[in-house]
């Protein structure tokens, strides 16, 4: 699994008071969630990781290599990202062509690209819509399509900016399943999200950001066990914990299944 490392990273937007400063951070877990309030610096980190922004100082390393030295094609093969709004990325006449276009940025073999596009569209449940115009799809399907454009390239590291927003329940389950499959295949998934139930239930590591600084990195259990921190950075614990704390139980529960395991499954 590829490993991202941030060293002495500093970044400030010109004319704005916000500044990002990360002394040392290693994204070592296969599934990491970046959480924090709006304006905490989560999207800025993603833009730095994809080269959309250049750090003022510091280095971003992927497997020990400085990301600044990567050629554009190598960067595409190493880090793939989807943004919050799918409509910012779609422009081809058909769903299949959209995926093929992404593939054509890294591979000239049209037949191989066509086959890979079919395979990926089937994975995200859009095989039947392959000939449709992307703008005729529902918002949830358009979001899955942008995710498919990244899955097609099969980069080592996947960055997802709020992937669950605008997805319906079946699509959310499908995406979670895809995440686990990616991790099982040796990929790394880093996700920005505000969905604490999802973070608690599915992720191995959480990175909490506040005012451009990383305040915490660790397991969801360690995070939600530190109620002072959770409250201070404006996060909500998982719903199961809200319920159990109302019932006077102060232990950490990451999901209803976790509650069952700790109390009833013995």
């Amino acid at each position: 699994m590829a490993k991202i490392e941030l060293q002495d990273l500093q970044f400030a937007y010109p004319g704005k008071s916000f500044n990002l400063a990360v002394k040392q951070q290693v994204f070592a877990d296969p599934m990491t969630a970046i959480v924090g309030q709006n304006g905490a610096g989560k999207s800025t980190i993603f833009k730095l990781l994809t080269g959309l922004l250049q750090p003022d100082t510091g280095i971003i390393k992927v497997d020990g290599h400085d990301l600044a030295d990567f050629k554009p094609v190598d960067r595409l093969k190493t880090i793939g990202i989807t943004f919050q709004n799918p409509d910012d990325q779609l422009f081809n006449a058909t769903v299949k062509r959209e995926v093929e276009w992404s593939l054509s940025q890294v591979n000239d073999d049209r037949d191989a690209n066509s086959q890979q596009a079919d395979k990926v569209l089937a994975n995200v449940g859009l095989a039947e819509k392959a000939a449709e115009n992307p703008y005729d799809l529902s918002l949830s399907e358009r979001k899955l399509l942008t995710i498919a454009t990244v899955l097609a390239i099969d980069p080592e590291i996947y960055l997802f900016d709020e992937p669950m927003i605008s997805l319906d329940s079946p699509s959310k389950l499908m995406l979670t399943q895809i995440f686990h499959e990616l991790v099982a295949d040796g990929h790394q998934v880093i996700t920005i999200t505000h969905d604490m139930d999802w973070v608690a239930a599915e992720f191995g590591a959480v990175c909490v950001m506040e005012h451009g600084r990383i305040q915490f990195t660790g397991t969801p259990r360690a995070l939600f066990g530190d109620r002072g921190l959770v409250e201070r950075v404006g996060l909500l614990p998982p719903k199961v914990m809200e319920l159990t704390s109302m019932l006077g139980d102060s232990r950490v529960y990451l999901s209803p299944e976790d509650y069952y395991k700790q109390n009833l499954g013995k």
Partner: protein, 264 residues
């Protein structure tokens, strides 16, 4: 400062001295300063106008956009000084030499006069832009008797353009991470425009549609809608309008007279 915030002007709630001047008076002030600058060839007067413009900005609000505009125009003025100092058709008197290259007095004075006029216009316009918000303009125009629909159409340009620019930046970033990079040849450049243009047009149309629906739902077309009541915070409106318009007429007349008398 973003385009949007520049157009939005001063924050609501804070009342400062420039809030007491109505938008039309500010526009007339720009006109008068520009006319005075163009009517005169006296460099001392130009220096006075530039100082006046700078003071107006310093005592109101200096935005990074104004500073950038000034920086760019100073670069252009410097280029103009070099070109006119060397090649102006009426050059006669050598003023100074740098590594054997002669710079002429006539060309330098001509370029300084032109440059000063540009600076006066930029400073005066900058004062208007940083001290007058879109909503203030809209309210004022509506109170002056213009239909609210016309005002909306006029002002929506000011809101929509920065929004489109913002959308374009987002889309460009989203496409860059998909592999769209700045291209070298014209055909490659044209090809890389499509991935930005199509989402931009669709998004803009979609936002326009949403805006239109929400306006209808909020009663934009209501025939009983009344104009906003005046908050009446502007001072000396009539006096300023009459005085500044009179000054503009005098300056135009003076300029015309100098032209005509030169021909006679």
């Amino acid at each position: 400062m973003t385009d949007q915030s520049m157009l939005s002007g001063n924050p609501a709630g804070k009342s400062r001295w420039f809030n007491a001047i109505d938008p039309i008076s500010k526009l007339l002030l720009i006109l008068d300063m520009a006319l005075l600058s163009f009517a005169s060839t006296n460099l001392l007067l130009e220096a006075g106008l530039i100082t006046g413009g700078l003071l107006l900005l310093l005592f109101s609000k200096v935005s990074s956009t104004t500073v950038k505009a000034l920086g760019f125009s100073l670069f252009l003025i410097f280029t103009m000084l070099v070109i006119q100092g060397l090649f102006y058709s009426k050059n006669q008197t050598v003023w100074f030499s740098i590594i054997g290259i002669n710079f002429y007095k006539e060309g330098l004075i001509y370029a300084t006069t032109l440059g000063s006029r540009v600076l006066v216009i930029i400073l005066a316009s900058g004062f208007f832009m940083v001290t007058t918000s879109i909503s203030e303009n809209a309210k004022y125009l509506e109170q002056s008797g213009l239909s609210y629909k016309t005002v909306y159409v006029l002002m929506s340009v000011c809101y929509i353009l920065p929004e489109i620019m913002g959308n374009m930046r987002k889309i460009q970033q989203a496409q860059r991470v998909r592999g769209v990079n700045p291209q070298k040849t014209v055909i490659q450049k044209l090809k890389s425009v499509l991935p930005v243009l199509i989402p931009l047009v669709i998004k803009t149309l979609d936002q326009s549609m949403t805006r239109s629906i929400s306006l209808q739902l909020r009663g934009f077309d209501n025939p009983n809608r009344k104009a906003l009541k005046s908050t009446n915070r502007y001072r000396l409106v009539s006096g300023l309008h009459i005085g500044l318009t009179f000054a503009a007429i005098i300056l135009i007349g003076w300029k015309l007279w100098t032209k005509i008398s030169g021909l006679l």
